[in-house]
Symmetry: C2
Subunit: 196 residues, 2 copies
């Protein structure tokens, strides 16, 4: 075996984990989200800029505002999931940068004075962190259902502000009945990876 | 503990794993890369579109072409890393979509006929996959050094084509001496996560 990670962990995070379309009623606790964050916060980002921000849609009132903004096919599962998280990129991440990068506090002023540069960096690095977050949800024994089928402008207006760009919305919970389609095929190694 | 993933795996993937700036001479084998891909290929993407493509810079000749395209601060480590991988988004991923999504082969024509739509989807989903890939490199007991400090247009011209947009370049290997700075701080839970 070329992997050091033990096979049970491989199964938990990748091989048996699946995108869930249905969930049980079991709630997702604040402790679980805290444990997930305390793990995945260590995932690397450029300049440790850590631009991912997460809004947990916990109240019934907030859920009612969110569901109609989802694409029709995503509405039933977003209505039913124990927890829904809005993942966003903070385009003003540079404000925290001197604290996040103590060995290079000038980075904020050297690289990130321009908003378009920040937006591009925030989108890339927060999306990387979204990948870590999905792995972290699985590390808590939960299923994630990431979705990009929603009205981005409306979700930004309703739940975020001009400085926070939505990236995706993730349903979280224990998988329910008929939670997924059969696993779809993946590309072969040599369709993805070439050497020069 | 709120996590199901065992603590050794948590350490391997997140808590003790670090972005390496120096590496030993030990080569990264094709078997290792294959094992990493065979694990992380299962990470979820929208419509299973799987747009990440990877160019492994294996030959001395290719390495010589790449190093000068890196930002000056990244040149020594990119010259020294046992393996360097260029991660890119395939903007023509829709060609593979009918094979990747057998239960909804029309997705290609319903959602992805326009190039700008594909570019946006490919950037987001390939970056998510880059997050899985970094986790996978760590699952192989290797350190990853992801970098965005390079000439994107020049790397695209030299190693890719108009249909493949570079996302980041990743040094891969066993960490060497003084491989990293002390761990930088992370944001507190309530600076990142709010509930509504």
């Amino acid at each position: 075996m070329s992997l050091v990670l033990d096979p049970a962990a491989q199964d938990l995070l990748f091989r048996e984990a699946r995108t869930a379309n249905t969930f049980t009623d079991e709630p997702v606790t604040e402790e679980q989200i805290q444990a997930i964050y305390d793990l995945v916060k260590y995932g690397p980002t450029a300049f440790n800029q850590s631009p991912l921000r997460i809004v947990l849609v916990r109240s019934a009132e907030a859920r009612e505002r969110l569901v109609p903004l989802m694409a029709e096919g995503n509405q039933p599962k977003t209505a039913a999931a124990p927890l829904v998280a809005i993942l966003a990129a903070d385009n003003e991440f540079h404000d925290e940068l001197p604290a996040l990068l103590p060995h290079f506090p000038q980075a904020k002023d050297v690289f990130f004075t321009e908003r378009p540069v920040r937006e591009q960096a925030a989108a890339l690095n927060a999306t990387l962190q979204a990948g870590y977050f999905i792995v972290g949800v699985r590390a808590a024994g939960l299923a994630a259902g990431p979705m990009t089928g929603f009205d981005f402008a409306a979700v930004q207006k309703e739940f975020l502000d001009d400085d926070h760009t939505p990236l995706m919305i993730v349903n979280i919970g224990k998988p329910g009945e008929d939670a997924w389609f059969p696993r779809s095929p993946r590309l072969a190694f040599d369709e993805v990876i070439t050497s020069v």
